[in-house]
């Protein structure tokens, strides 16, 4: 049985931990709100971009002449996996679930004899994956210390990827991130961005008129597709930021609750041993008096 002093120290230390986790939870809650707003603000653009691209893609009948970003390079040999994770830990299974998904896919592709490259955006995913992969891993892109992820950052990542694609660095590019469903649920998601995955959209009613394209359709597609990549990346980064805060909030909520339970259990042990100590002393005094 631990001594009373030891128990007191334990309780104090658990209480200190609880204070920290509670503070982290509250910080995450307020950051979450901002991240969520940012993610929602990005939605209209991405949705409309998707609709416009869907429209254009539906009009392209000749897959031979279609841009490579849309139709693919015609080969499926090399893959680039972009793994977007957080810069910091202490957010439950958030980082590891994204990394696990990407790792499983990488192993599956390698088993099929494909070439795989992995690009990490965010330090945590890099730290996890570098244990399993070395030569496949591209240098890390990190936005540590950045208060707010904006379009500029997404554009930066997109430019790098597109440059690599132009040089024939890979045929297919997939993006791994965590989709923000709600505070409790974040879904690790894989999204294929090259060749572009175009959702089928309803063709809007044009009232019998045909679309005028200025300049040509293909030129518009050429301009739009790279932009779409940047948008998809931005969306992933923003969703990720919201997911990270959500995951951290629930992880810290759990931690705070666990600490509370621990404090309760320790307090009971502490009180019991204190009473036992008093009883013991009383018995000693009484039996001493009786012996006289």
């Amino acid at each position: 049985m631990a001594s009373l002093k030891e128990l007191r120290n334990r309780i104090a230390s658990v209480q200190a931990t609880q204070k920290i986790t509670r503070a982290m939870q509250m910080v995450a809650a307020s950051k979450l709100r901002r991240a969520q707003e940012a993610a929602e603000a990005a939605r209209p653009y991405a949705d409309r971009m998707g609709a416009v691209l869907g429209n254009l893609a539906a009009g392209i009948t000749d897959p031979q002449g279609a841009p490579k970003l849309l139709a693919g390079t015609g080969s499926e040999q090399s893959y680039l996996l972009i793994v977007a994770t957080a810069e910091r830990g202490l957010c439950g299974g958030f980082n590891s679930s994204i990394a696990r998904m990407a790792r499983a896919e990488a192993y599956r592709l390698m088993a099929e004899g494909k070439d795989v490259k992995i690009l990490c955006v965010g330090r945590k995913g890099y730290d996890v994956l570098k244990r399993n992969f070395t030569k496949e891993l591209l240098p890390l892109i990190s936005y540590q210390g950045m208060k707010k992820i904006g379009f500029d950052q997404a554009q930066e990542v997109a430019t790098q990827i597109l440059g690599d694609f132009e040089n024939g660095g890979f045929d297919i590019c997939k993006l791994y991130y965590s989709r923000f469903q709600n505070v409790l649920t974040q879904v690790p998601t894989a999204l294929q961005i090259i060749p572009a995955h175009i959702e089928a959209v309803e063709v809007p009613d044009l009232g019998g008129a045909a679309y005028d394209y200025e300049p040509e359709e293909t030129e518009i597609l050429d301009a739009l597709l790279p932009r779409n990549i940047a948008i998809q990346i931005l969306r992933a980064l923003l969703e990720n930021a919201a997911s990270e805060q959500g995951a951290r909030m629930s992880a810290m909520d759990n931690a705070t609750r666990n600490a509370g339970e621990m404090i309760d259990a320790l307090s009971i042990t502490y009180n019991r041993s204190r009473q036992a100590q008093i009883t013991k002393e009383l018995i000693e005094i009484i039996s001493g008096a009786e012996a006289l």
Binding site: V52, P204, L206, E214, P215, I220
Partner: protein
């Protein structure tokens, strides 16, 4: 004044403007063009320039660094990466004839 067109100005970070307006003048890649209600459908790339929106005689300008416009019978949607209002543009010292 029942005849207006729905105009949406969207940047990746926010929905800048979504309103019913009288007309929009767009700096297209192959020349500026104005859009009034019931315009025929057009898709065009936007070159860096000034977008002019007119509503009830009130003219507002937005500086764009390029983007994309989609005109349908329902309305006009402008997608642009950087959108500055006149005041923001003046702050950054962008010339009016950008």
């Amino acid at each position: 004044m029942a005849n207006k067109l729905q105009f949406d100005l969207v940047s990746p970070e926010s929905l800048v403007l979504s309103a019913q307006v009288d007309s929009v003048s767009v700096p297209g890649l192959e020349g500026d063009f104005g859009v009034m209600p019931n315009h025929s459908p057009v898709m065009s790339i936007i070159r860096p320039g000034v977008l002019v929106v007119e509503n009830d005689g009130v003219v507002s300008q937005y500086h764009l660094d390029g983007g994309f416009v989609d005109v349908t019978p329902e309305g006009v949607t402008v997608l642009a990466e950087t959108i500055l209002t006149e005041a923001q543009a003046a702050e950054r010292g962008v010339a009016d004839e950008a």
